[in-house]
Symmetry: C2
Subunit: 200 residues, 2 copies
DNA sequence: GTCTATATGCTGATAGAC
DNA sequence: GTCTATCAGCATATAGAC
């Protein structure tokens, strides 16, 4: 198991290969979904034997966790610039998600499994959730100061609700792909916004 | 496989037994969670052999689907009276859910699996969602007419959001049981409510 | 109607050759 | 670093005795 910290020596190539595997696996999952979510089928898809693939990851669960981590990395780079507004960024990510049902399925599936504190993805989901909510809450705090959101609302709680809605909409969407997740999430933001005061 | 419609003849006892199995299984799942979610362990828990249990259900998936149906039946009878306000009823159900983590885990797990149209729970989740949203939407419509909710909001969309938030909060709660799902859901209802006009 | 016993197929994981 | 070969475990499902 290569140590991600190491960058010298023979590990460098291993790390590069690992990243390559993850990118490839992410594409496969996005396209093919979770039908062949076994290590064996994923190994075939990325051009390795099952044992060859598991050489890079401790277990199946760790492999899938790392795939999701890679997904976040790409989302951050491609859909969430440093200067992007939170609502806009969220909209873009969710819009993109509706083009990769397999990734949504993997995320949802692992969300459930990771409830077990022993699961390799447990810490990942905890930290990811905190980061996401902190970002959303900060945005709400700014909008609150600008008077766009009622002062009585707790930005942390609103952030929780937005995250929950986003995750829950994925469950609904997997059941019924006609649902537009991005639009519905926008509607939530609108509903949380104080009606403008201009009487016309 | 007993036909649930039949009530005469030798089937009557079979149906009663089936209901008894479901109630017992629900209790087991609520208490022990999904650790022993195999048919074998569930069979042991309800005092049958694996084959004996599968005599009443076509498959494991159908069994779990029926457990959730039984759960809804009990929720409806015990926590959602005919005259109960939707928000209040939802609060009660969610509050109760936080005492049965295993049921929440089963529900979430099956929500994901049921995305597959072939899954026995697919229709169940579709119909359940529609029913739930219709009920929530009707409540919002009434509150809208009473002026408590902005007229511009679409009750159907708001209902979707509430359902999504409820489901998503379960995922967050399984990860971090300190979260109060019922209170957070209440906060959503409050946030969707138009600030009262009384200037003080 | 319920049991025991078993068939069959998959899974993730490992050992060891190269 | 990657492979082939193999393992033990567990799943669902069925056959047939009682």
């Amino acid at each position: 198991m290569p140590d991600p910290q190491r960058t010298r020596g023979s590990y460098a190539k291993g790390i590069a290969k690992r990243e390559e595997i993850l990118e490839r696996a992410l594409e496969v999952v996005a396209r093919e979904g979770m039908r062949g979510a076994s290590v064996r089928e994923l190994a075939d898809a990325v051009g390795l034997s099952q044992a060859g693939l598991l050489h890079y990851f401790d277990s199946k669960e760790e492999l899938f966790t790392e795939i999701l981590r890679k997904r976040d990395e790409i989302d951050l780079a491609e859909r969430l610039g440093a200067g992007t507004d939170v609502q806009e960024g969220l909209h873009r990510v969710v819009r993109h998600n509706s083009e990769v049902p397999g990734v949504v399925a993997l995320f949802s599936r692992l969300s459930v499994d990771a409830a077990d504190p022993q699961h390799p993805a447990h810490a990942f989901f905890l930290e990811r959730g905190e980061r996401l909510r902190a970002s959303i809450a900060a945005s709400f705090r700014r909008r609150q100061e600008a008077g766009e959101i009622p002062a009585a609302a707790d930005p942390e709680v609103l952030a929780r609700i937005v995250q929950a809605a986003a995750d829950g909409l994925q469950l609904q969407w997997m059941l019924d792909p006609d649902l537009d997740m991005a639009d519905t999430l926008d509607a939530l933001f609108v509903a949380l916004t104080r009606p403008s005061e201009d009487a016309s």
